[in-house]
Structures are given as structure tokens and as C-alpha cells.
């Protein structure tokens, strides 16, 4: 890797995170179920999975938008739910988020200047006098200019709105940014613009990312390590190249073979691993492997116990009884 990933400096440590939502009597939606990982400074950790896998919920727990049902999340060694006022403020400056939907992530009643400048003023990075100049500098970095500062969100395209969202996050000079499906809602040619921008910014500013997405090709491209989630549980966790070259969990294999590749000869020759059935509901899930109903290799043992996440090869973790 040509990046500066410092394995001695963990930023986030997530231990046994569980987030449950009680929907009705006797019905618990287990959105996140026993998730463990560490994010090191300078890296990009990818979090991938289909609907209901809990990736967004996990991301939101990390920014304290949800209070987890159990488990511990530490930032730089300290539990993020045990902060005093100052620590809280520092956390809010250091950890930022980019949202999925460009059309609802900007306050329609505020100008671009106010949207980007609000955070700077709040964290003492700019005063009323110099906020104009500072906002202009940040906007320049994302490819917008002075004329855009007095405009309102609805006047911009989806790609531009997303860049404003990135500018807002960057304005407070964070260390860590959670990217929650930042490009899914954008056109294909614009997706590449935003992805490139995120990569460049990471190199320039030494940022650390948690990149949440459902598009595996994109996640592989931008991430150093990848976690695959299914129905709230982690099923596989490895370096990006390793995961795609040697997927060990049946679900990961299915996922990889389902992606339609933009190459007619390849995609028609490739043997697809078939999976039957629908994605089950995360409400009251069974206490065994969550993939058991659809897995082509399932056995009786898989229906009895939840498989633990084991390190099969160095750095490559899988939660499967059959591996």
C-alpha cells in the first residue's frame, strides 16, 4: 500500500456492538448483532452488505446518532459515551459524516456559505469576519467557486450537492469521516468524480474513512480492508485484495458472483453461484447462522449455533462452520 496506515494508532475500537430496536411486543429488530472491529489511522475500512445488514446502523452508532443496546465504542482509547462537554465537542470536530441522499442532506433554507460555515464557526475555526474567505477555500477544494456561496441547495445538481456535503464535513478539519453510501444516489460518471475526490483528499489531509456501500466494486477500489455483513452479523473480514481473490464465506462468494460485470464476454461465460430465496427479515432472527436458509452448503450444524468469527488466515476472518 502506498498509504500511510499506522497500525499502532487505532482510532476506533468497536467491541461487541449490538443495536436492537424493539418494534412491538416480542418483536426485536436486531439491526447490529455482535460486531467487532478496529479502524487504524490513515486507512479506509469498507463496510459492505445488502439491505438489512446493519451497515448504516453501525455507521450511525459510531457518530453517536444511536445509542447502542450493548457493546463499547472507543475513540482513541476512550468510550465515546463517557465524554464530558469538552471531549464531546472535540469528538464532534474530529469525526464527521457524509450522507447518502444529496437531496436531503442539505438544509434547503440555508445558503451554501452558511451550510459550510456553520460548523467552522461552531468549532472556533472561523469568525464572522474571515468565514467568507475560509468557506471559499474549502469550496475550491471540491470544485465549486465563489458564485456558489450565496446559492441555495435546490439550485445545484446531485453531484454538486454531494460535494457541498463533503465541503461541510471537511470544513471542521476532521480526522475521521464516515461515508454512508456517498455515491449511490449519483449518476455513474459523477460517481467517479466524487470517488477520486475522496481518495485525493485522504492522501492530502491524512484522513481515515469508514466507507459504507452496497456496490462491491466501488468498495474494493477504495478500501484497504473490507467487512462483509449479513443481517446484522459480520460474516467475513479481510484485506480488500484478499477478500476478492479468496472469498471464503459462502455469502461473500455469492455476492461477488452476482455482480454484473461490464464486459459482455466475461459476464456471460462466468459461472454464477446461485442463491435461492429472499433476504430474510432482521426481526427476531434465529440464533444460528443467519445465512442458513439460502446457503448452498448449509448443514445441520449450521442451524444450531451462531458461527463465531475466526481467523482462518492471518488477517482474514470468517464466520462459518464449514470453513
Amino acid at each position: 500500500m502506498s498509504k500511510n496506515v499506522n497500525k499502532n494508532e487505532p482510532l476506533f475500537q468497536v467491541e461487541d456492538l449490538c443495536q436492537y430496536f424493539h418494534i412491538a411486543k416480542g418483536k426485536t429488530l436486531k439491526a447490529v448483532d455482535h460486531v467487532n472491529f478496529t479502524i487504524y489511522k490513515g486507512e479506509t475500512l469498507g463496510l459492505v452488505g445488502e439491505s438489512g445488514c446493519g451497515k448504516s446502523t453501525t455507521g450511525r452508532c459510531l457518530v453517536k446518532l444511536y445509542k447502542p443496546a450493548s457493546g463499547k465504542i472507543s475513540y482513541k482509547g476512550k468510550d465515546i459515551f463517557s465524554y464530558n462537554k469538552e471531549e464531546e465537542k472535540a469528538f464532534r470536530k474530529n469525526v464527521q459524516m457524509i450522507f447518502q441522499n444529496p437531496h436531503s442532506s442539505l438544509n434547503p433554507r440555508m445558503t451554501v456559505k452558511d451550510i459550510v460555515g456553520a460548523g467552522m464557526k461552531l468549532h472556533g475555526l472561523a469568525t464572522d469576519k474571515d468565514v467568507d474567505a475560509k468557506v471559499e477555500a474549502i469550496l475550491k477544494r471540491v470544485g465549486l467557486n465563489r458564485d456558489h456561496m450565496s446559492r441555495f441547495p435546490h439550485e445545484f445538481s446531485g453531484g454538486q450537492k454531494q460535494r457541498i456535503g463533503i465541503a461541510r464535513a471537511l470544513a471542521v478539519e476532521p480526522e475521521f469521516i464516515i461515508c454512508d453510501e456517498p455515491i449511490s444516489a449519483l449518476d455513474v460518471s459523477i460517481q467517479a468524480q466524487v470517488l477520486n475526490m475522496l481518495k485525493e483528499l485522504q492522501e492530502e489531509l491524512g484522513l481515515t474513512y469508514l466507507f459504507i456501500a452496497h456496490d462491491l466494486s466501488v468498495v474494493k477500489y477504495i478500501s484497504d480492508r473490507v467487512i462483509v455483513m449479513y443481517l446484522g452479523t459480520m460474516v467475513e473480514f479481510a484485506d480488500a485484495e484478499e477478500l476478492y481473490d479468496n472469498p471464503l464465506h459462502p455469502y461473500t462468494q455469492v455476492l461477488l458472483s452476482s455482480i454484473p460485470v461490464a464486459d459482455p464476454k466475461l459476464v456471460r461465460e462466468k459461472q454464477r453461484i446461485m442463491v435461492k430465496g429472499e433476504i430474510p427479515s432482521p426481526i427476531n432472527p434465529p440464533d444460528c447462522c443467519r445465512f442458513v436458509e439460502r446457503c448452498p452448503y448449509a448443514t445441520e450444524a449450521c442451524r444450531k449455533k451462531l458461527p463465531p468469527l475466526r481467523e482462518i488466515k492471518p488477517g482474514h476472518f470468517v464466520a462459518c462452520h464449514m470453513v
Binding site: 502506498s2 445488502e50 439491505s51 445538481s157 446531485g158 453531484g159 454538486q160 449518476d187 455513474v188 460518471s189 459523477i190 460517481q191 467517479a192 468524480q193 470517488l195 477520486n196 452496497h214 462491491l216 466494486s217 466501488v218 474494493k220 477500489y221 480488500a240 476478492y244 455469492v254 455476492l255 461477488l256 452476482s258 455482480i259 454484473p260 460485470v261 461490464a262 464486459d263 459482455p264 464476454k265 466475461l266 459476464v267 456471460r268 454464477r272 442463491v275 429472499e278 433476504i279
Partner: protein
């Protein structure tokens, strides 16, 4: 060679809006043959959805209106048909699958009822026959326990199931063409694979033609026989799927292919985005709509709209680079050097 069942020539469709007239479709021509899967690929605002909805006259008229051109289905002109005549075609001769199954099904009606609706107003079929046909189709699209599902409401079904129901509804009338507008965009990737396989299977079994509209080049590569690439309301390139991917002629198509990350893209490889944003359809540029974003744009591209150059029997490209005066360039090269004026 299979014959054409749909012929679209020089189609122009616009909308009256507060800000002026928006030219959504500006001179689009293509044919659809029996039993083929034709893909239409393009990004938001390129006019692909409006074009497909024109075929079934689904665009609201007013404020929409045909500025020119013709759409012929099995020899009959569509643009001049009355609403009553169109109702005989919609759902029966030509089916439509919408993008978002969550909002395309009526939440207050059972699945069965929604399928039966296709036959309302069409005489000659008994209620019993309708139900039988409906159950048969539900089985065909891979819905197990069709009798049970028949009585259920949309909210009791998952996203993938709902899309299967949409496909079933589109198939019930045994149409010759199905128009699928981004049918898998809102679905998870494993479900998407299942739905795409289903569409292919149906084409094999029933020889239905499919017009598949999407922005996903992977889906195009997997499914389509021929492809139409649209930009700024016009056809930029069209041809067989191999020609489009392996002998790309239009810089926009090349740009799309270069900008997507595939599983083979290595980390050190830079994705080549297409800079800029799609054109303003209120005041479309007088030259090629893609010129301002094209690294190979020439003076002539800004001044005049390119002609349609026929490269092979199927392969057409609307680009000045195909003119004999134009320099030879490699549009698939992966550099983003902006050539200074």
C-alpha cells in the same frame, strides 16, 4: 434475421414548463426486433425514460407534446392514436415494468386483483380463465405458493417479490414487447441477479422483446443483444453489445466505461470521470450536446450537431470524430489531460 416490431424514426418530444420548452427527446431513431433484448443506457436527463414512455404514450400530454417523428408498432402509428386505442395496446401488446416496485403497486389492492385489472374492459375472457392465467404467470416468474400470494397485499411482499409481481403484470397480456425502466436499480445485488435471469428466461420461453433501460453498464453487458447510448436527448451511439464494449466509437460511451470501477480495477488505477454535468435541456447547445465535457472536442463539435455515421450494419455513432477530416484518436486511453486551446 428477425423482423422489426417497433420502429422509431426521428422522434422529438418536448415539455412546456414555466421556464420555457424543455426538449427532452431530440431526434431519436431505433428499431426493436422480435425476441431481442435492446438496452438503452444513459444518465439522468438523457431522455431514455421519456423515450420509452412515449412508446406507450405514458407522458402527460399536456404539458408534453410530440414535436416530430414517428413511432410504428407492427406498422401502426402510435403518436396519433387516441387514448382508447392506446388502452388496447398498453399492458396487452406492450408491457411496462417501472423502476420502483415499492410505489408502482397499489397498496390497497391484492396482488390478484391488480393482475386481473389488465383484463377489465377487454371482453371474451371468463373470470375463471383470468385467474388461471394469472396463477400460471405468477408461477412462471418464480413466485412459489401463487394461490397464497394471490390474496396478499403488496406490503406483505419483499422488494424482489414485488418486482416479480410487476413482471407478472407486464406478462399477463402476452405482450410482444416489455419495456423495463430500471427494473433492478432499487434491488439488492443478489436479488437483481435473480430478476435479470428471470427476464432472460422469459425471453427464451415466450420470445418477448425487451427494451431494458438502465444506467448500469454491467447489466447491459449481461443482458443485451444491442445497445443504444443516449446523451442530451439524442442517440450518441448504437450497435451490438460487443461493438459497444469492444469497439467503442463515441467518447461519451468510452467515458462511461472508463469511469466505472470493476472488480478488476486495481487501486493504483485512477477512475477517469467525465468532468462537468449533463446539459441544460432548456437551452440545448447548438453543437454536439457532449462537446463541453469531451476531451476530444473539436471546433466543429461546438458549432454543429454531428451526423449519424454508420460504421457497420448495426453500429452507428453520432460524432464528428468519424468524419474523414478528423484526426485519429484513441478514445479509450486513460488520461485526463485537458488539451489547451
Amino acid at each position: 434475421m428477425a423482423k422489426n416490431i417497433l420502429e422509431i424514426k426521428n422522434l422529438e418530444f418536448s415539455f412546456h414548463t414555466y421556464g420555457g420548452v424543455v426538449k427532452s427527446v431530440r431526434d431519436v431513431s431505433f428499431n426493436v426486433r422480435e425476441g431481442e433484448i435492446l438496452g438503452i443506457v444513459g444518465e439522468s436527463g438523457c431522455g431514455k425514460s421519456v423515450t420509452s414512455q412515449c412508446i406507450l404514450r405514458l407522458n402527460p400530454e399536456p404539458p408534453g407534446f410530440f414535436e416530430g417523428g414517428s413511432i410504428k408498432y407492427k406498422g401502426e402509428e402510435i403518436t396519433t392514436k387516441s387514448d382508447r386505442e392506446m388502452r388496447k395496446i398498453r399492458g396487452v401488446e406492450i408491457g411496462f415494468i417501472f423502476q420502483d416496485p415499492m410505489t408502482s403497486l397499489n397498496p390497497t389492492m391484492t396482488i390478484g386483483k391488480q393482475i386481473e385489472e389488465i383484463f377489465v374492459g377487454r371482453g371474451g375472457i371468463s373470470k375463471k380463465e383470468i385467474k388461471e392465467r394469472a396463477l400460471e404467470i405468477l408461477k412462471l416468474v418464480g413466485i412459489n405458493e401463487p394461490e397464497r400470494r394471490y390474496k396478499q397485499y403488496p406490503h406483505e411482499l419483499s422488494g424482489g417479490m414485488k418486482q416479480r409481481v410487476m413482471i407478472a403484470i407486464a406478462l399477463v397480456g402476452k405482450p410482444s414487447i416489455i419495456i423495463a425502466d430500471e427494473p433492478t436499480t432499487s434491488l439488492d445485488v443478489t436479488i437483481e441477479a435473480q430478476i435479470l435471469d428471470l427476464l432472460k428466461e422469459l425471453r427464451e420461453k415466450m420470445n418477448t422483446s425487451i427494451i431494458l433501460i438502465t444506467h448500469d453498464l454491467g447489466v447491459i453487458a449481461k443482458m443485451c443483444d444491442r445497445v443504444l447510448v443516449m446523451y442530451g436527448g439524442k442517440v450518441a451511439e448504437k450497435g451490438t453489445v460487443e461493438e459497444i464494449f469492444y469497439e467503442t466509437a463515441h467518447p461519451y460511451t468510452a467515458g462511461l466505461i472508463k469511469s466505472i470501477a470493476t472488480l478488476d480495477t486495481s487501486k493504483d488505477q485512477k477512475l477517469v470521470p467525465i468532468d462537468g454535468t449533463p446539459p441544460d435541456l432548456f437551452a440545448p447547445p447548438k453543437g454536439c450536446p457532449f462537446a463541453a465535457r469531451c476531451e476530444f472536442a473539436m471546433e466543429i463539435c461546438y458549432e454543429a450537431q454531428p451526423e449519424n455515421y454508420q460504421l457497420t450494419k448495426e453500429h452507428m455513432c453520432a460524432c464528428w470524430l468519424q468524419h474523414e477530416y478528423a484526426p485519429k484518436v484513441d478514445i479509450m486511453r486513460r488520461e485526463t489531460k485537458e488539451v489547451q486551446q
